[in-house]
Subunit: 313 residues, 2 copies
């Protein structure tokens, strides 16, 4: 088989954490879990801006014994204000990426997108980096499991663009993207299969950049060479996908949760909002939250353009 596109998860982490964090604002770190990750990166030398309820944050910092000289709290009572304060820090160059605290994803991204920050791409979308223990340990990107509810074809193309941006900072190999579906046939009764056929055509015509795209295909055909053979799927992508594109938010999210299971290595980030946004889940371990900080930080050096809107969670 051809060589893997993405390095092993552990070496990605080693690469990410080898450099100090870029300047960062954590929005509404009002939970023990959010502060535990703050404590971790502060102990590693980071200096952070935090926006949210000063009293709550101070209590949580004290409980977690965080060195308060390494954090600046920007008091902002409600979550809208906490997002606005974060945007101020981005505009002045004092913050280069954002970490979600205990604010709902929709509130955070809605606030960021309303501010029309420069450097955002056609669509904000979530990308998981995950190591698939149940699938031979390979590392893949999975998108979009967190932002776009029912993306149309144009939005899917923008989601692909964001995923390729992330991929390019993790690997120099040509990426192989599988457009997922329940079946490998194109059927007018399953619209996601039509999108897959069109994305494949767009890729062949060079509209999606340097990427091999194939689909529609079920998950097993995307990840297992023997399943690809079984389903008569030839080509570069089937059986060795580096990027998995989900049909919609429900399927992406359920798929991500199933693949992560009980804390398989994974981390998530939103690209396209102007600055990278680390988006830990409530169930994430401190290690995963820490990795998300470093992933988003690493991505500050690359950015996309061309604004637009999309149907978000």
């Amino acid at each position: 088989m051809s060589e893997p596109g993405l390095p092993p998860f552990e070496s990605i982490i080693a690469g990410l954490t080898a450099r100090p964090l870029a300047r960062c604002v954590v929005v509404a770190p009002h939970s023990v879990e959010a502060i535990a990750a703050v404590a971790q990166v502060v102990a590693e030398g980071a200096v952070l801006d935090l926006t949210g309820d000063r009293a709550r944050i101070k209590n949580l910092l004290a409980e977690a014994e965080v060195d308060v000289s390494a954090v600046r709290i920007h008091d902002s009572g409600d979550s809208d204000t906490a997002v606005d304060r974060a945007v101020d820090l981005i505009r002045t160059g004092d913050a280069e990426f954002v970490v979600k605290g205990s604010i709902p994803t929709a509130d955070l991204l809605g606030g960021l997108l309303r501010q029309r920050l420069p450097g955002r791409s056609a669509c904000a979308s979530h990308i998981y980096v995950m190591q698939l223990e149940q699938f031979g340990g390979r590392t893949v990107l999975l998108t979009d499991a967190g932002v776009n509810i029912e993306p149309d074809l144009a939005t899917k193309a923008a989601i692909v663009e964001n995923a390729l941006q992330l991929y390019s900072v993790l690997s120099s190999a040509r990426p192989r993207l599988a457009v997922l579906s329940a079946i490998e046939k194109v059927s007018t009764r399953i619209p996601a299969t039509l999108d897959a056929a069109e994305l494949r055509l767009m890729a062949e015509r060079g509209k999606l950049g340097a990427v091999d795209v194939d689909g529609p295909m079920p998950l097993d055909a995307a990840l297992f060479p023997e399943s690809a053979v079984n389903k008569n799927l030839a080509g570069e992508v089937a059986g060795q996908a580096d990027i998995l594109l989900a049909p919609d938010l429900n399927s992406g999210n359920l798929l991500a949760k199933a693949l992560v299971g009980h804390h398989a290595p994974a981390m998530g980030v939103v690209l396209g909002a102007g600055v990278p946004v680390a988006l830990p889940s409530r169930g994430d371990t401190v290690a995963t939250r820490r990795h998300s900080f470093y992933l988003a930080s690493h991505l500050t050096r690359s950015a996309a353009t061309s604004p637009n809107g999309c149907d978000r969670e």
Copy 2:
């Protein structure tokens, strides 16, 4: 935590295989994999009817060294005829359940449903029985990952009915059903969350039978008690679901494939078509295919009523 609803997968298998197979017709066993499962159950004493291309089947049987005195081949060239022959056997009482060979699922189910067999329920739907290695080893049912493309509320209620029928032959405990979604909030922007709220209400009002229903909820909240607590989901279901109801075919199928991974214990069956239909996947092991035979066989003793149609793959 309260006691588990379904027995461990191994003891389900032990229970299923303790009884001889009911009378069975295998439709279009035109692949090495399909015949390998036939060989297995024939070696265990089963007598089977096979419909399909006699010459191909005879060759495959010879290669697999199957005792041909234990099989009756009903020659039927194309797949429509193979299904019609199977229906004839069901109508005369010579077959009590169906096993899919290498015929497409849509052709097999379409053919069976067109024949309006007595005993079918409001909707045919697929149910997986699986042991979730990544989720503490618990056994769950997952539906519908194989038949209904975008089920509406009434179809989801019928899908629940079929799942409860299967559940009831595996466990006498009261089932806990989680209606899955990307989020745990009810949002008009994500229709599956509205269905979840309505199914919950229907269950509370006794419209779905003896079952506790909760949702919408993400996968982790359905399966991990700590995630349920994290997301403020109280009640009987969250964290200890026995039955997972997927939003639609794509999400159900991707979820099933992710949970099964590299051959986790699983088996699938379609209920509601008049007789149980064992529906092995092309990637299934011989063991899984064999288990599907016994599962469908076991279900011949229970049946539902009230015909209707639904939007199938």
